[in-house]
């Protein structure tokens, strides 16, 4: 019983950390730079498919499936996502606020449709299976593999968190916040807002691509159903609930929102008899919405919002 719960929690934690990495990417874009990226799932998909196409075991009917090592897949996923984000950024980054949101949303939907229709490369709606899990031969029980993957994810998340904290405290990070608060003032000080916005956009999207690669190598399967717009909405909910502009808030938000999603399902299945499972499921969806609304009503800046610091020396 306890090994079962532990095993489930390890699995759950892996999913949370993968979602957490995406949320950190969005936090860099929205929380610090004010870029309204509504196409998160598009970059996530590019990373996921790059990794899957490079690492999946060869099959004659597919163009890809090169069977390359895991590390190559992950690095390539980041590189390809960065390149895609840079190209997309070049044409869209001048757009402000909701205009950028509409553009990126459209691009994400297009990317999902490409994965659905470019069958020889992506497997289309059949998806790509036979994606190797890293060191699955060494850790051959599900719990052992998930534990090892959790350690890997934990280490990666720690590195990403530390690196983000570091660069956001640097002059580069201060420019991002300056742009977010008042772009005209930042430009007046001689900063190229466009360049900084593009850099933040590419860097944040690269993290989303990394998360995509991690997700498919954790699950071992990828299909276009993984990249519906609902994922974008979930990640936004995580950032807003956790606290936009705070990296710890982003990670906490991923945990809290995904826990609400999973726990509400458990609660409903415990309380509602199977004969009313359909009604119970509808209640679950209502519950999720209700909790999100309550959090926002009582913690409008998120669970741990951004610290309002005028200057680190102001209190001295």
């Amino acid at each position: 019983m306890f090994t079962g719960i532990a095993s489930y929690l390890v699995f759950f934690a892996c999913v949370v950390l993968i979602l957490g990495i995406i949320t950190l990417g969005l936090n860099l874009q929205w929380g610090f730079t004010g870029l309204f990226n509504a196409g998160i799932v598009g970059f996530y998909a590019i990373g996921a498919y790059t990794h899957a196409i490079l690492t999946a075991a060869p099959q004659p009917q597919y163009l890809g499936n090169f069977g390359l090592p895991w590390g190559v897949g992950v690095l390539a996923a980041m590189a390809v996502t960065a390149l895609a984000a840079w190209l997309i950024g070049l044409v869209t980054i001048r757009l402000r606020g909701d205009y950028l949101a509409i553009a990126t949303f459209g691009i994400a939907v297009s990317i999902q449709l490409v994965t659905l229709n470019w069958e020889p490369l992506t497997g289309g709606s059949q998806g790509l299976s036979r994606i190797p899990k890293p060191l699955a031969g060494v850790f051959d029980s599900p719990l052992a593999f998930n534990l090892w993957f959790l350690c890997l994810l934990g280490a990666l998340t720690a590195v990403i968190y530390a690196a983000l904290e570091r660069i956001l405290r640097s002059p580069w990070g201060r420019v991002l916040r300056a742009i977010r608060e008042d772009e005209t003032a930042a430009v007046a000080l001689g900063k190229s807002a466009r360049r900084f916005r593009l850099e933040a956009f590419v860097l944040g999207s690269t993290l989303m691509g990394l998360a995509g690669a991690l997700y498919v190598s954790f699950i071992g399967f990828v299909s276009p159903f993984d990249f519906l717009p609902i994922v974008t909405f979930q990640v936004w909910a995580m950032l807003i609930v956790g606290g936009s502009g705070n990296n710890r808030g982003a990670l906490l938000g991923a945990l809290v929102v995904w826990a609400i999603w999973a726990a509400s399902g458990v609660v409903v299945s415990k309380l509602v008899p199977p004969s009313h499972a359909a009604q119970g499921a509808a209640i679950q969806v209502i519950l999720i919405g209700l909790v999100l609304v309550l959090v926002l009503l009582y913690r409008p800046r998120g669970l741990i919002g951004e610290k309002a610091v005028v200057s680190r020396h102001a209190g001295d």
Binding site: M1, T3, G4, I5, S7, Y8, F11, F12, V15, Q59, L113, L116, N117, E119, G123, G124, S125, Q126, G127, S129, R130, I131, S141, P142, F145, F218, I219, G220, F221, S223, P224, F225, D226, L228, I230, V231, W261, A262, G265, V266, V268, S269, P274, S275, A277, A278, G280, A281, A282, Q284, V285
Partner: protein, 413 residues
């Protein structure tokens, strides 16, 4: 220290075999909300009925069965999480689900196959699942794959003299499989596919797709998709002057479709489904379903979901214990060539239980007919041609298992 560790390891290894505690749990994941929800309602009811019959018929290994059903919301991460919870925390030794192949796939890859849990689905037809060897033999389905339906459709359209056929299909694994297999079979049998037009679901209009199909000057159409979009497509097809030689797939065998388009417009349209072969076992199921839910048992996945759970329960009773490998090896023993025939309903399940206890082989005839799994975990089955007559859905004819086998030989696998 080492001894303690060994003891622990032994206890852990023996855990599932020792634990013969009541009730026996069976897990399930279905899209109870989301775009599939309208189809799922009856499927979930069929599952509920199966569990009721199993319990009235003596349960599994003398224990009552507890069915834990979770919602996947049509989202892979949600479905995988629910499946993982059922397998790890609830410790279900067997699992049924789900409908969308995009969710069944990751569940096989990351939950059931690695944990050696038997998974039987009513509805996922993606051909890769049973062919790529990833499931380790733990994945079964009671729905004939798209191939059976596609071949049967091809033989029927050719029989009815369909020429210059255009195929409009939903762009999912199901749709692409259907087109691929239909085209192969129709070409072989003397038909002709002149255009293939994919569509993406949940669009307000399909004028562009229908116009593209009509541009090929077709004399007949095969429509593969789901009822809601199909209503829109057929309306646009007819209003733009498309022919009334229209063949449909199994999902359209619902009054929602007929009434959606308007009964008089779809008169004499026909379609294919997995045959609910006539026989006492099929009637017993239909009657039980109608009595309990006050609605007919027509609809995609209803009969196959019932059989998925009945097969699972029979296999759990046949296996020496409730471990995954033992259940997996028993699944093919529910329909043995020289076994005593058993059918649907609680009394028949009880009879099967007594036969199993006496060490005798059984031969299960389910709500979809004889259930015999091939080496991949797929069923082959008879098909059924239905048509719309005076605004009602009626069975036109049944293509028997023998005819299907002959057809497969003619077309070639």
């Amino acid at each position: 220290m080492i001894r303690t560790a060994l003891l622990c390891a032994c206890l852990l290894a023996a855990g599932p075999a020792l634990a013969q505690s009541c009730p026996v749990k069976i897990g399930g994941v279905l899209p109870l909300t989301g775009s599939m929800a309208p189809i799922t309602k009856k499927i979930a009811q069929a599952a509920e009925l199966a569990i009721e019959h199993i319990n009235q018929g003596g349960g599994i290994k003398g224990c009552p069965v507890q069915f834990i059903l979770r919602d996947d919301q049509g989202q892979p991460t949600v479905g995988v999480d629910a499946a993982k919870y059922l397998v790890e925390v609830e410790r279900v030794p067997a699992f049924t689900g789900t409908i969308s192949s995009g969710i069944t796939g990751p569940i096989i890859a990351s939950v059931t196959a690695p944990s050696k849990v038997v998974q039987i689905t009513c509805c996922s037809t993606a051909s890769t699942f049973t062919l790529d060897g990833r499931s380790g033999g733990y994945f079964f389905r009671t729905i004939p794959t798209s191939k059976t339906q596609a071949y049967a459709t091809a033989s029927e359209t050719v029989r009815r003299g369909f020429k210059k056929t255009v195929v409009i299909y939903v762009n999912t694994d199901f749709g692409t499989d259907m087109v691929r297999f239909y085209k192969a079979a129709a070409t072989k049998l003397g038909g002709e596919v002149i255009a293939e037009v994919p569509y993406n679901d949940n669009q307000p209009s399909y004028r562009a797709e229908v116009s593209r199909a009509l541009a090929a000057k077709p004399e007949s159409m095969l429509l593969v998709g789901f009822p809601k979009d199909a209503v829109t497509i057929v309306r646009e097809w007819l209003s733009l002057g498309g022919t009334r030689n229209v063949a449909l797939n199994n999902s359209m065998r619902t009054m929602d479709f007929v009434n959606g388009v308007g009964a008089k417009f779809v008169e004499d349209f026909f379609g294919m489904d997995n045959a609910q072969v006539a026989g006492p076992h099929v009637d017993a199921f239909n009657k039980a379903f109608e009595e309990k839910f006050k609605t007919d048992s027509k609809g995609p996945g209803v009969h196959t979901q019932y059989d998925a759970l009945m097969v699972m329960a029979l296999a759990m009773n046949i296996g020496k214990d409730l471990s995954g490998p033992s259940i997996k090896d028993s699944v093919r023993l529910v329909h043995v060539a020289n076994g005593s025939p058993v059918g649907t309903g609680p009394a028949e399940f009880k009879k099967a239980g007594e036969l199993i206890k006496a060490g005798k082989p059984i031969k299960y005839f389910g709500a979809t007919g004889p259930i015999e799994f091939d080496a991949n975990g797929d069923v082959t089955g008879p098909a059924l041609v239905w048509k719309i007559k005076d605004g009602q859905i009626v069975t036109d004819r049944v293509i028997s298992i023998e005819e299907m086998q002959a057809l497969f030989k003619r077309v070639g696998n």
